[in-house]
Symmetry: C2
Subunit: 338 residues, 2 copies
C-alpha cells in the first residue's frame, strides 16, 4: 500500500510500504476511515526530535476492523472502532487506575497515516461503536483518538469542574480541544490565550468566554487582572516550551492545578520556586482510553463537534502538503482521507 | 525577656531581647505554654540558609492570650490558642480556597522560642479552645502549630484516602507526623522509609505498617517489590533534597501523587521526565490554618497523640543544647518549656 513515511526533517513522502499484517494474536488490522497529522508530528518534522531512520507516521485513527488475531475477543471484523494513540492492555494495574498511557505493555501507535494499520493489544486499545457511524461523524470520532482525548486529559488533570475558572495556554488543536473539554466539564469561565484570529474564533466556538492575546508577563498580568489578582483555578498547558510552562504556572492560583499535555521540550522546574508557588501539577501522555467511551458517546449524541478542529482536508496522497500547511501555521490540523 | 537568638551557624544564644508589643491593631501577644525547635531551623543553624543578622527564632507556638490589638475580634485575653507558623488573614481568596500559607498578607511567624510572642493577624491566625487544656495535652497542641500540620498537609497533598498505599520519605519529625496523618486519613498500608531504630519504632507507634531501611535505588526497588511492581498511590516527601525527591517520585505509581513538604534545597525537576513519569505533585508551606480546628479536636478527644514526637524536653534557657541535639540527630524534636 501507499502510506506516509518521514525520511528526515521536512521530508515526508507518500510511498510504497508493506501491508500491515497480524504479528501477534492480540493484534487487529483496521481499514482507516480517516487519519490526520498531529502537532507532535511536527517535532521530528522540524528536526527538533531525532528519528531513527525512515518512520512510518501517524498515530490517530479510526476505522473498520478487517482482521483480528486469534486471541482478540472484544472486537471483530466489520465493526467500527476508535483507538487511543497509546496502545494499552486495559487490564494492568496502571490501566485499572485510569492511566492507560502508563500501561505496563504500553506502546505508541504508529503507521496510521495509511489506508490500513495494525493495532496491537486490540482488546485493550480499541472501542467499538454499536453501529457504523455516518460519514459526517468520522472527523469527530477521529479526533477522539488523540487530539480531543489529550485536550480532555489536560482539563481533567487540571481539575476543571463545575464553576471553575480555566485558562488554556496554547491555541493549537490540543488547546482548542482543551477549551471544548473545559466547557463540557462545567467551567464557568474559559480564557483562551491566543494571538491568531482564526483560532480565537474557533476557541469561542468551542466555548471560550474570553480571549487573551498577550503572552508571557503581559499575558499573566492580564489573567491576574481578569481574576481580581487571584489567578485561575485550572490551567491547561498545551504547548510544551519553558515560556508556555512558566506562563501556565504564573496564571494559576496557589492551590490551583496545571494539567500539562504539551510534551516538554527543554523545560525544567526549580523545586523551591514550585514549592513556594504551591501549584498542583499533573501531566503526561493522555490516558485517552479512559475517556474514549464517554467521548464517543458525546459525539454520537451530538453533544460535541470536535471535528471542527480540522481546517484542512487532503487526500492521504497529499500528506506532505498537510505537514507543510501545519508547519507554516496555514492549517491548525489536517485530516487525511484514505 | 530572655529568648533564643541565632547569631550565625551553630550559634544560638539565650539572651535579653525586647518584650513583644502590640504593633498593629490586629496583633495579639501570647504567653507561650511551650515552644519547640523545627527541623527547618536547622537549615540556617547548619549554615545552609543565610540569615540576615541576629534572628529571633521560633515559629511553633501555643499559649494564653495576654493582650490584643483594638481590631482583634475572635480571641481575647485569657483564652488558650494555637496558631499556624504561617500568619494569615483567613479571609482573602487564597485563604478561602484553603491555602492560607499563600495568604495575600502572609508572614512567617518568628520569635516564638521565647516566653512571650507577638502574633500578627490574630483573628485569622489563631484558633482558641473552649477551655484551658490540661498540661499533659500541651505537647500535642503545640505539635499542631507546624510539625503535625505539615505532616498532615503532606498526606492531604499526596491525596491519601481510605485504602491508600502510602510511602513516607523522611523519618524526621514531619515524616513521623505524616505517618500519623496517613493513618488518620485511612491509608491501608503505610510504609515508612527509615534507617534509625528509634524512629522506626516511633513510626510504627504512629501507624506505619511497614518499614523500609534501604534508600535511593535500593529503597525504590523494595517499594516496587512490596507493591507488586506498581508503586504507591501516595508518597509524602518530608526531606527536601534531590535524592529524597527522586526517591519519592520513583516510589509513586503513574497517576499517583507526591505531597512534598520538605523545603527543596537544590532540587530541580526535568519537565520531560516528569511528563513521562506521569505523577501528580503538590507541595509548599503547609496551610496549617485549614487543618487546625480539626487537629485540635482530634487532640482534645484523644484520637491522636502527636506530642510523642518530642523526645527531648529542655527548659528554654537550654535552647542551644536543643539545637545541638537535633543537629547531631540525638533528638528527633526538642520541646522547650517556658
Amino acid at each position: 500500500m501507499l502510506a506516509a513515511v518521514m525520511h528526515g526533517p521536512r521530508d515526508v513522502r507518500f510511498e510504497q510500504v508493506d501491508d500491515p499484517k497480524i504479528l501477534k494474536p492480540t493484534d487487529a488490522i483496521i481499514k482507516l476511515s480517516a487519519t490526520c497529522i498531529c502537532g507532535s508530528d511536527l517535532w521530528p518534522y522540524r528536526g527538533l526530535q531525532p528519528i531513527d531512520g525512515p518512520a512510518h507516521m501517524g498515530h490517530e485513527y479510526c476505522g473498520v476492523v478487517v482482521e483480528v488475531g486469534r486471541e482478540v475477543k472484544t472486537v471483530r471484523p466489520g465493526q467500527f472502532v476508535v483507538g487511543s494513540f497509546c496502545i494499552s492492555d486495559n487490564t494492568c494495574p496502571h490501566c485499572r487506575f485510569g492511566f492507560q498511557s502508563s500501561c505496563v505493555q504500553r506502546e505508541f501507535m504508529s503507521g496510521a497515516q495509511a489506508p490500513y494499520a495494525r493495532v496491537p493489544l486490540a482488546d485493550g486499545t480499541l472501542v467499538a461503536t454499536a453501529e457504523l457511524p455516518s460519514a459526517d461523524l468520522i472527523p469527530d470520532l477521529l479526533a477522539a483518538s488523540d487530539v480531543l482525548g489529550t485536550g480532555w486529559y489536560a482539563a481533567d488533570a487540571a481539575n476543571v469542574r463545575e464553576g471553575s475558572i480555566a485558562v488554556v495556554v496554547g491555541d493549537g488543536a490540543v488547546g482548542l480541544m482543551g477549551v471544548l473539554a473545559a466547557r463540557q466539564l462545567g467551567a464557568e469561565r474559559i480564557i483562551a490565550m491566543s494571538r491568531h484570529e482564526t483560532r480565537q474564533r474557533l476557541a469561542r466556538e468551542f466555548g471560550a468566554t474570553d480571549i487573551v492575546s498577550e503572552r508571557g508577563e503581559d499575558g499573566v498580568a492580564r489573567i491576574k487582572d481578569m481574576t481580581r489578582g487571584v489567578g485561575a483555578d485550572s490551567v491547561l498547558e498545551c504547548v510544551g516550551t519553558q515560556q508556555s510552562m512558566t506562563q501556565a504556572i504564573e496564571c494559576t492560583r496557589p492551590g490551583g492545578t496545571i494539567g500539562y499535555v504539551g510534551v516538554p521540550h527543554g523545560v525544567t522546574f526549580d523545586g523551591q520556586a514550585m514549592f513556594f508557588a504551591q501549584r498542583r501539577m499533573l501531566g503526561g501522555p493522555a490516558p485517552v482510553r479512559r475517556f474514549l467511551p464517554d467521548l464517543i458517546d458525546r459525539v454520537l449524541t451530538g453533544k460535541i463537534k470536535p471535528g471542527k478542529v480540522f481546517d484542512l482536508k487532503l487526500p492521504l496522497s497529499e500528506v506532505a502538503e498537510g505537514y507543510r500547511a501545519m508547519d507554516e501555521r496555514r492549517a491548525i490540523k489536517t485530516i487525511l482521507t484514505v
